[in-house]
Symmetry: C2
DNA sequence: TTGTAAGCGTTATCAA
DNA sequence: TTGATAACGCTTACAA
């Protein structure tokens, strides 16, 4: 049997409420009793029962992280782990616990609804890359604290953290151009996913700003989100003639790695013939040949920032929605000439 | 305000206990009321408060995963992600939630103690690779359900899952020998970590069984657990003379990748001059040059198995300690000749 | 088949 | 500065 507040009270010869006050550091308790109670708590290895505690106080010490419904997908993307680490670090520092929610198996809304009404957690961080309106609407309706990781489409009164993906797309393209590339392709656009759209927008802005006449439409390689490779025939087509691209911006590292592989099989050398750059700075990019130049988006910091905003939302439920942009930086390796 | 069991009861014109019985699917309730109550619950989007529920029933719907104290370390090893995925998948299927515990920052025992006495979780899976006796003793003493992932030193009455690391070391070495390697080195032994010791034992057994006279002691490269590379000078020494190894078994992939890199800088070709094999099958191994031959230890399945055992421990607290060995297999790529 | 009442371990509101 | 007492939302004997 676990030791409870009552037993501590009895042993100390005080009432449970006094013990509770000691626990919460209430000032209006004599130093004497405080001392005595503290001592007994230590000796008995007493820990307050968090369940009982939050049941009555309505303060929660757990926050949930909602992963995209397909646990299989999300938990194999290193990106999510870095984010998760950031969240746990932030949470641990503030005495919070992190609950993993993989979407319950059924639909995602259901998983989040369960979290909201289940009473276990006080708030939730949505990692789901394609935030479904229904989920967000429902969260808002119930005034349940949440933060979205990734710039949502409807970004009115909601907390979110993200990189500035437009800027990132632009910076990356500028970088390529500054290294002498003249014809830059873009791989990985999926119109349904804002992140890919934003990076592509940046790419276009950079191109325009540099005064290039539009590149062939074959340079824009769409890839359904989550797919790890460009359809080979389309890639080959884009890189066929003499007017082929001399660089590719890839929307994530995994895609970039596969593109490099495909390029090699076409007899094109990276970076001599084609420069390649990715996003996310995954571990595998350090070991490829050549090592992949990429953008460090600082997923861990994204996670920490997300937790930070959630904490704020928890403490000041009526504060205005906040946003946070986490800086990124290019990691120069050898896949760009 | 969240809808509670009382309101449902009132709306249905029954008592709270009746609603509770409907909730738990008690048989002794008329089909009529069951129907009516169910209907109202649906319409009101009612969800039982898990906190209140487990407070009184002493049944928990959350299990914890205790990561090694240094969250930084563990959450950057892909192995842990795969394990985590396995655990969440298993948990989700059984209606459980997974709580991440990064060890609270201070010492690890403290984190686990918090979990035990905090009343939030019903059991814990220890991922901590170097299980500290104190933690385990304390868990046992309090009869708190737990499962260790990794074969613990003192494996008496405790649940654990693991690969058969001795067998794995043996199979891997046999594989190398069968491909014509004659002088096999071993990198990554750390006497404090059973996993590395076991794999090394297998390596030795295979060597002996194949009838080789003992290889030079320089072939045994110790590396502190967690370190990602062999000390370069020692590696160079081992691969100096004409009697250098023609193969290396590396205790994990990251180490193998770094060894390959180092070997290249010594002017040795993989696999023509030296064959390299790793463990864990991390993503980066697919993209190295040459792609890394490795052992798939099925971390995800380890995770699922761990949850399975924990579930059993939760339901039958007095059952005997169970162990489970998860099969492994060699993933043949190009780093072995 | 259903209701009443007690209690899970804590906090919070009154009084004292 | 402290102590009763009533919740929090639920389950579960014990009655009816």
């Amino acid at each position: 049997m676990r030791v409870t507040i009552k037993e501590i009270a009895q042993m100390a010869g005080v009432s449970p409420s006094t013990v509770s006050r000691v626990l919460s550091g209430s000032s209006r308790i004599s130093a004497d009793t405080t001392e005595r109670v503290r001592d007994i708590m230590r000796r008995m290895h007493y820990r307050p029962n968090q369940l009982a505690r939050s049941l009555v106080s309505r303060k929660h010490t757990i926050v949930a992280v909602a992963l995209p419904s397909a646990a299989q997908t999300s938990l194999s993307d290193p990106f999510f782990y870095d984010v998760l680490r950031g969240i746990s670090v932030g949470a641990a520092r503030e005495g919070y616990h992190v609950l993993l929610s993989t979407g319950g198996g059924d639909n995602e809304d259901d998983g989040v609804a369960e979290l909201m009404h289940g009473g276990i957690v006080g708030g939730v961080i949505l990692l789901t890359s394609k935030v479904e309106d229904e989920t967000v609407e429902s969260l808002l309706f119930h005034r349940f604290p949440f933060v979205v990781l990734g710039h949502p489409v409807r970004d009115g009164q909601i907390h979110w953290v993200d990189n500035d993906n437009v800027a990132a797309g632009q910076v990356v393209t500028d970088y390529l151009l500054s290294r002498g590339c003249k014809r830059v392709a873009f791989a990985g656009l999926d119109p349904h996913y804002r992140m890919t759209v934003d990076r592509c927008t940046g790419y276009r802005l950079a191109q325009k700003a540099a005064g290039f006449s539009p590149w062939p439409s074959a340079f824009l390689l769409e890839v359904p989100y989550g797919d790890t490779r460009v359809e080979p025939s389309r890639l080959r087509a884009a890189f066929a003639g003499p007017d082929r691209p001399d660089a590719v911006v890839c929307v994530n590292d995994l895609l970039a790695l596969e593109v490099m592989r495909e390029l090699a099989s076409l007899g094109l050398r990276v970076p001599q013939d084609v420069s390649v750059i990715g996003f996310n700075n995954i571990q595998a990019g350090r070991f490829s040949t050549p090592p992949l130049t990429t953008v460090e988006i600082d997923a861990e910091r994204l996670g920490q920032a997300a937790f930070g905003l959630l904490l704020r939302a928890l403490n000041q439920p009526d504060a205005e929605a906040a946003h946070e942009l986490v800086p990124f930086r290019i990691v120069e390796r050898a896949s760009v000439r």
